[in-house]
Symmetry: C2
Subunit: 417 residues, 2 copies
């Protein structure tokens, strides 16, 4: 049987626009991977009447209802009451949940007010979903042919509660297991990737292949369903291999978090140190590398040279090169990378220079004209970039940093630049 | 008459979780500021039947329906058809819109396929909302006592289309004008801010006062409604002054984009140059400063010193200080700021050092132990930070950078640190 899902989010903060409904996005992704069809997202505020209306509707049109929000201790939090009422269930005090709530407050050293124990009131006969990431437990039950799952609203709780509590519950509704791998690509556009895979994607049913694009990168998620994990993996393997063969060295990893992770990891494995010199990216390359816990094992540091003075004084870019070619040039990118390698005394140095906009530079270079370079013991390589007709500062800077990372991962993997 | 709004978003990519519904958040914020009550968000996919059901429902329960998405040229894009049908309107070819679409493709140098002209089919008698940020025009009409506004889905189009097209249309529905100011604060928590304002907020109706919190900062939006802008401003002024007096130097600006904007602006005005030396923030301070177009007028550059070697070699932090106090110390933060001021030859230098986690450092400093410092011609000032019981690397780094910015804005404004 094919299940249809409605995600019902309860919270006035969503209707006021204080926060975006990222829970619904996260759940939609996770549910799609389980092969469940999400047909509706609904948001209502902390209002009894409209919450009741929304639940009545969802009960008619979906056979799985997942709610987020409205499980907390304040009087605004009405989700459990409305759902229990709609499905003719009483709320019952659960001693074990109460114990967990008390222990949570003890552990975090915060005082507990009595209304927190309201969170231990749960629908009779439900499966309790213990919350190790906050105080409000979730719950799940089946009634009137509908599965109901209630999850807390804060994204830092909702995400693990879905992953570790709701997902296993949903998996138990279907027979077998679902497994997936994510193939990460750089250097190919989403539409080009889709064009090369479209026929294949449409022809496949198990495993399935789903493309995603974000910030100048692409990923392909391969998902298979089978009786056991081993069987699912056996289904996945040929497709993963096929995609890797098809896109060759544009694939930078499978099940890896990001380009910068691949680089830090690669440097660590090879015992190489890393540094950078940034002009147009203005610290973003260093920032992204140091987003990674433990980056200091490979990353030594960087120079943000936003003026020619710093390029000459600290990176020792020769004045005549700056003068002759301008700061936005192949020659200066190369000299910055070499200079950073010297100044920071590192094995691999990346550099960036370019026009991030909104205006052209003083040499009339177009916005989006960028150069990234890498300096290693084998010499220097520069990659010139023309990043586009409809540039936006933030996107330009992100893509430029990613191209610099791409140089590094190609060096570390022994690939052509 | 008090209007009630439903935001109806059409797009399978939302139900698959490929993107979050940031349009709905942006619109909700904007509509709340206009004093309109958003009661429902609904998302459906590119599916005729469910789109029809959603529109029928919205027509019953709201008197303003705002749709996002589904205006593009592909056959999936069905919003206009469904809305026109539901309100008994024909779609009519609009020559002026067709001309704008052709000219858009000419301008961006992309080839235009014929299906793009479908976007010029618009409901008879509607107000056309020209789209200067993409190809699909929006539209607005009133029928059966309901106002319908259709906006394109891509956030880079939806945002300006709301701001410059839908907002004026909605303003014309109500008598008078709405004006608001945003007061930005740093150095006070949201709950502390709310606690001091709660009685006042509840007692106010015009202007209203709404608090927002994000990434360690707070803001208060004051909104007034009046017959003319001058009258609205007259209503706003006393409240803005009152809030500023109440929170004193925790207010860093009114209607300013961010702390870093205030600093770049302040340096420009005073003719001062700016630089930084970063350890735990790893490039984030430089990155946030260079997010601002034109930052180069004040910001010269920065050093990311992720190792002691770079702290000594480039920032000239004395080895004995590193040895005696450790890299995460008041003394090293001070020496880094002074060193950056020298090395970068700038008037104002900021520094950061600390433990961003996930683990304690080699001297057993707790995660969240941070020091930020500022060096100017008047000397050095260090601010020690203890950032928390439930720290997350990203939040810690953001807050540390903001504290460094706070030192700079206090220096630039002649305030106590």
């Amino acid at each position: 049987m094919s299940h249809t899902v409605e995600i019902l989010s309860v919270g006035t903060e969503l209707l006021l626009g204080n926060i975006a409904n990222t829970d619904a996005q996260m759940l939609s992704q996770g549910l799609s991977e389980l092969g469940l069809n999400v047909f509706w997202h609904t948001v209502v505020g902390d209002n009894l009447q409209r919450a009741e209306e929304a639940v009545a509707l969802a009960k008619q049109r979906a056979d799985i209802i997942i709610t987020t929000g409205g499980l907390g201790p304040t009087c605004d939090d009405l989700t459990k009451n409305v759902l229990a009422e709609a499905f003719g269930k009483k709320l019952i005090f659960d001693e074990e949940s109460a114990r967990r709530i008390r222990s949570y407050f003890q552990r975090t050293g915060r005082p507990m007010t009595d209304n927190n124990l309201q969170q231990a009131m749960l629908p009779e006969g439900c499966t309790i979903l213990p919350n190790d990431w906050g105080t409000a437990p979730g719950c799940a039950f089946e009634a009137d042919g509908v599965h109901v799952i209630m999850l807390p609203g804060p994204p830092s709780e909702c995400r693990p509660m879905f992953q570790y509590r709701a997902r296993p519950y949903l998996l138990s509704l279907s027979e077998g297991v679902i497994a997936s791998h994510t193939i990460k690509l750089f250097g190919i556009g989403e539409s080009a990737m889709e064009a090369r895979l479209r026929d294949q994607m449409n022809a496949m049913s198990n495993p399935t292949l789903a493309p995603y694009a974000k910030e100048g990168e692409c990923e392909l998620r391969v998902t298979a369903k089978a009786a056991t994990d081993a069987e699912a993996q056996a289904l996945l393997r040929p497709t993963v291999d096929q995609v890797k063969a098809l896109f060759g060295d544009k694939v930078y990893g499978v099940d890896v978090p990001s380009l910068e992770h691949v680089i830090i990891q690669g440097c660590k494995e090879k015992g190489l140190t890393l540094g950078c010199a940034e002009s147009c990216t203005g610290g973003l390359i260093a920032k992204r590398l140091t987003d990674i816990p433990g980056a200091s094992a490979a990353f030594k540091g960087g120079i943000v040279s936003y003026t020619n003075e710093i390029k000459t004084d600290i990176l020792h870019v020769p004045g005549h090169i700056l003068e002759q070619f301008g700061a936005v040039s192949r020659e200066v990118a190369a000299a910055m990378a070499e200079g950073a390698r010297q100044a920071l005394n590192c094995d691999v140095a990346l550099s960036s220079t370019g026009v991030a906009g909104p205006d052209r530079d003083d040499r009339d270079n177009e916005v989006g004209t960028m150069f990234v370079a890498i300096a290693t013991q084998d010499g220097v390589h520069v990659r010139p970039l023309r990043l586009g007709a409809r540039p936006m500062r933030e996107r330009l800077r992100t893509q430029t940093a990613s191209h610099a990372f791409d140089l590094a991962r190609r060096y570390l993997s022994g690939l052509e630049y």
